[in-house]
């Protein structure tokens, strides 16, 4: 985990912020680290290839691009159907996140999907379609009523 070089750590901390909108966005970080831009670019490639960078590019606000309805749907999925529903959920463009989570006595839901749509109706259609095709009947839709916080994570290295 800590196999990163000092330069790689600096690059990763830099990239988790907002890179400058300039023709040469890495000129400054290169100068600070006393290397050339090409070295920075190569380190970014390495970090991406090794999985330290999951995604690289523009990060959009989904409510600004018309995806105003956001729903966390929680499901009770029996062990035997997990693979089936997960495979289907993975293929659906409207579903961004999909996890299996620990349950509690009061909260028996083990399968979680995040669904984004232009309207609530669209989200409901996606969920009903998934429920039908995966043959799972026990689920609850928890729409986002209010967004208190949504920011990019910053993992300091």
């Amino acid at each position: 985990m800590n196999k990163l070089t000092e330069l790689q750590k600096n690059v990763l901390n830099f990239l988790q912020q907002d890179i400058p909108v300039k023709e040469h966005p890495y000129a400054e970080i290169a100068r600070q680290n006393k290397v050339d831009e090409k070295t920075i670019v190569n380190q970014i490639k390495v970090l991406k290839k090794t999985g330290y960078i999951r995604r690289f590019g523009a990060i959009l606000a989904h409510h600004k691009i018309g995806l105003k309805a956001n729903c966390m749907c929680v499901w009770i999925v029996p062990e035997s159907k997990i693979k089936k529903i997960a495979d289907r959920a993975k293929k659906m463009a409207q579903i961004s996140h999909c996890y299996l989570r620990k349950t509690t006595k009061k909260w028996p839901y083990n399968f979680y999907t995040m669904i984004h749509g232009q309207t609530k109706k669209q989200c409901i259609e996606v969920i009903e379609f998934l429920a039908k095709t995966a043959e799972v009947t026990d689920y609850r839709m928890l729409f986002t009523e209010k967004q208190f916080k949504k920011s990019s994570p910053f993992y300091s290295v």
Partner: protein, 137 residues
């Protein structure tokens, strides 16, 4: 720009060429989209797991009159990136990332001690099938 951002010293020149506009035009369009907050930022999403961070989904049952205040307290932690109000017996849902379970547990203990907080549950992921943050529109 969401999924195929060129990794090169002059990415905007390459993108402008792809779009058939000048680099100046592209930079000014991007500036506008950032001002409008359509583009939140341009950069990397690091892998929490690769860097030794655990991300915990936490759900809390908060008295309605205390929700705003508690949400504000939760938001004050850098570790919290998402925090939503949802219609359910657990009305506040958020994520807390930290390097150790100890940090997560001590945060939860602190939250439980606050006025208006009736119940807190941690829901660790046992398997991740999909994390995608690109949107088609």
């Amino acid at each position: 720009m969401q999924s195929d951002f060129p990794i090169i010293a002059n990415p905007y020149q390459v993108l402008a060429k792809r779009l058939g506009i000048s680099p100046e035009q592209l930079l000014s369009k991007i500036d506008k989209l950032k001002q409008k907050k359509t583009i939140r930022r341009i950069g990397a999403v690091a892998s929490a797991a690769h860097l030794g961070y655990k991300s915990m989904l936490i759900a809390a049952r908060i008295k309605p009159e205390a929700v705003e205040k508690i949400a504000e307290f939760i938001n004050s932690f850098e570790n919290v990136t998402h925090n939503y109000l949802r219609k359910a017996e657990y009305n506040l849902w958020f994520t807390f990332s930290a390097k150790t379970n100890k940090q997560i547990n001590s945060f939860i203990a602190q939250l439980k001690g606050m006025n208006g907080v009736e119940e807190v549950m941690a829901l660790p992921a046992t398997q991740t099938f999909k994390i995608k943050a690109e949107f088609k529109f």
